[in-house]
């Protein structure tokens, strides 16, 4: 019995970390159709911000939940002003530019900190179910995923800011005639997306290996999830993260980690073949 609970927790862990890692990308890609290939490096920057401030004596929770999103949000602001704002509506150019950006960020971090970086230990510790052990951090990640979902939904659905953002995404010209400044909206959306990605980087920092190239391990799955999710930012990402996260973890448990990965990619291919518009193109039309 206990083992089923543990596997359920693993699945929950897979889903919530995937959701957190994708949300920032979904905000940027889903709303502005900018393909940000430097997404993995934003995660890496969040992780570095957490680890470096925590090693410098900042409380680990403050480092994860405040320093990481603030820092990456600021980096996002600079990048949007210097680079991204010229690329709205230019899909292929944005891919090339952000790919170059990702190499640049990796290079800068390697030059400053080298390839070796002392990480932070995972807070909270473990608990046991029967004779099995699991980590409280898993539950914390799930809580954070739900928290972020509620927060984004609340802002988008019930605030004036969210209304303006949704209006701009739907029809920028119309929003502009009504007195909204689209440039401003794009800028803040990009910054929010970057900050959310930074937060995800901060949250995975205590459970991953910290190297300048670590973003590469996340970026492919993040894109797959966002594309598989389709146009609806929240419901799409959530449903795709649930599907891929569960397939990966259950697959890895019942076969081997190699097949766990293979299964995810196969599922993604089949999904895109059957639902070219992503899950939300079919099931959650018009949702957030």
């Amino acid at each position: 019995m206990a083992i089923y609970l543990i596997v359920a927790l693993d699945v929950l862990n897979g889903i919530s970390s995937l959701f957190l890692l994708c949300l920032g990308l979904a905000i940027i890609f889903g709303m502005m159709k900018i393909i940000n290939l430097a997404h993995g490096e934003f995660i890496m920057l969040g992780a570095y911000a957490t680890v470096i401030s925590a090693n410098a004596g900042v409380n680990i929770w403050i480092a994860m939940l405040i320093v990481a999103p603030l820092f990456v949000g600021l980096v996002g602001l600079v990048i949007e002003r210097c680079l991204i704002r010229f690329l709205y509506g230019r899909l292929v150019d944005s891919m090339l530019a952000t790919w170059g950006l990702s190499l640049l960020i990796i290079g800068i971090i390697t030059t400053i900190y080298g390839n070796t970086q002392q990480g932070v230990p995972t807070p909270l510790g473990g608990f046991s179910i029967g004779s099995y052990q699991s980590s409280y951090y898993t539950l914390f990640l799930a809580g954070m995923a739900i928290g972020m979902m509620v927060l984004v939904y609340g802002v988008m659905r019930y605030t004036r800011l969210g209304l303006i953002a949704r209006a701009t995404m739907q029809n920028p010209a119309m929003a502009a005639t009504l007195g909204v400044n689209p440039t401003r909206v794009y800028m803040s959306t990009f910054v929010v997306g970057a900050a959310v990605t930074g937060l995800a980087g901060g949250l995975v920092a205590p459970v991953s290996g910290i190297t300048p190239g670590m973003g590469g391990a996340y970026v492919a799955k993040a894109f797959m999830t966002v594309v598989g999710g389709g146009a609806a930012m929240l419901s799409g990402t959530m449903s795709a993260a649930s599907l891929f996260g569960a397939v990966n973890q259950v697959g890895a448990y019942f076969t081997t980690p190699v097949y766990g990965e293979v299964l995810v990619f196969t599922t993604a291919i089949v999904l895109i073949r059957l639902l070219p518009q992503g899950i939300s193109g079919r099931f959650f039309k018009g949702n957030l």
């Binding site: 083992i3 543990i6 596997v7 927790l9 693993d10 862990n13 897979g14 970390s17 390697t110 080298g114 390839n115 070796t116 970086q117 002392q118 990480g119 932070v120 230990p121 995972t122 909270l124 510790g125 473990g126 608990f127 046991s128 004779s131 099995y132 052990q133 699991s134 980590s135 951090y137 898993t138 995975v204 205590p206 459970v207 991953s208 290996g209 910290i210 190297t211 190239g213 670590m214 590469g216 391990a217 996340y218 990966n248 973890q249 890895a252 448990y253 081997t256 980690p257 190699v258 766990g260 990965e261």
Partner: protein, 412 residues
């Protein structure tokens, strides 16, 4: 004096000729007597493998500086031509050609991953350039032009597995990286577990970009092994040790690894995450012999920010020194004469102790050490002297087949 156009042209032509000829004239005048012996170096100083390559470059430079301080070889100074291969196999092929054809080096030390070695070894065979590979690897290279000075599984895994089993128990669970090193090492682990009367419950391989080890940790708990044998590789895989600790498993099942701590793992992890992990290598920075202490001191003095000085650096230093002994004995830089001298039982007392070259395999008989992580450092528990490269010896005999150039896959 009137300055005509014709005179101007004549003067300029003369001046140009002098300028162009000057370097050739000066060079032959100044260095003609003792043209340096050129040592090629191919190591990654940037990219993901930089933390391994950087101390190797320092060690090779140290060896060359020491030889030069002692008057060089055959009365000629040594010169290193180093290329940063940037953790990129294509760079290896390109720079190997360049070293052989353009720089005309007398020997090459380099290569880190097995893939990089196999990319450059045929080039050096073809252009007849002596090649030293100074890294621990899966064993089996059998090539008269190549000397492998690092440890092979029969020298380290063979010591690690029984000691870990004696401490922990007979039932092992193997986790390894999913590429040739991990696959082959997992086979060696299985062999030694069985040889020592144990049982392997399961073997799991992980692609190098796996970051979530939750299900593996659950599976390990369900299998209830006495011992975990790890050949996980790279930054992403260090996440396993973190997640293991955060699940509260640390200390419940001991871990022994053939890869942990070769580069920078103890430095990147917290003490609580890495304590009491077992490892076995041909050298540890913490080794307390005078030769080892002075070696580490010299490297850290020249490069205070050097990464961990592991077997990789020690073997590179010893490899360069063995080659120098060979040149001295041959009294020539001719490739065949140096190979014959190296095959005549050359030995060198290096930071890891006595290292001697084995004629039939071109590998080394060297000391091996077993150690345990304590407070983010290795603490050496046991040493084994004069361990032979028995794995490669079982498939390779260069005395019988001097023209052999392949890497054997050792059947277990």
């Amino acid at each position: 004096m009137p300055f005509s156009r014709r005179r101007f042209l004549r003067h300029s032509a003369l001046a140009t000729t002098t300028l162009i000829a000057a370097p050739a004239v000066f060079r032959s005048g100044a260095f003609g007597a003792e043209k340096p012996i050129v040592v090629g170096s191919l190591h990654d100083q940037s990219g993901p493998i930089a933390a391994s390559g950087t101390p190797m470059v320092y060690a090779l430079q140290l060896a060359v500086d020491e030889i030069n301080a002692g008057g060089g070889l055959l009365g000629r100074p040594l010169k290193v031509i180093h290329y940063d291969t940037q953790s990129n196999i294509q760079m290896y092929s390109q720079f190997a050609q360049q070293l052989a054809v353009k720089d005309k080096v007398d020997v090459v030390h380099g290569g880190i991953t097995s893939a990089s070695r196999e990319a450059v070894r045929p080039t050096f065979d073809r252009f007849k350039v002596l090649y030293f590979y100074n890294v621990l690897y899966e064993g089996g290279v059998c090539d008269r032009n190549t000397f492998c000075t690092g440890t092979t599984p029969a020298q380290t895994v063979e010591k690690l597995v029984p000691s870990a089993m004696k401490k922990a128990g007979k039932k092992a669970y193997i986790i390894a990286a999913d590429y040739n090193y991990g696959q082959i090492t997992a086979k060696w682990m299985t062999k030694y577990v069985k040889d020592n009367g144990g049982e392997v419950l399961s073997t799991d391989f992980f692609p190098l970009d796996v970051t979530n080890f939750g299900t593996t940790i659950s599976k390990i708990q369900a299998a209830k092994p006495d011992l975990i044998l790890s050949a996980l590789v790279g930054g992403n895989h260090t996440a396993f040790y973190r997640q293991w600790t955060s699940a509260g498993m640390k200390g419940k099942i001991p871990i022994a690894s053939t890869t942990f701590g070769l580069v920078n793992e103890p430095t990147t992890l917290d003490a609580a995450e890495s304590d009491s992990i077992l490892g076995a290598y041909g050298y540890f920075e913490e080794l307390a012999t005078p030769a080892s202490k002075s070696f580490v001191e010299k490297i850290k003095k020249a490069h205070p920010d050097s990464p961990y000085v592991s077997e990789l650096a020690a073997c590179t230093y010893e490899g360069a020194m063995l080659w120098a002994e060979g040149v001295k004995k041959a009294a020539s830089i001719d490739r065949m004469k140096v190979i014959e001298a190296l095959e005549s039982g050359i030995a060198f007392d290096g930071p890891s102790g006595k290292v001697s070259l084995d004629k039939p395999t071109h590998h080394t008989t060297r000391n091996a050490f077993l150690a345990e992580v304590k407070d983010r450092k290795w603490s050496v528990l046991e040493s084994y002297s004069d361990v032979k490269p028995a794995d490669t010896a079982s498939v390779c005999d260069l005395v019988k087949n001097p023209t052999d150039t392949k890497q054997y896959i050792i059947n277990l």
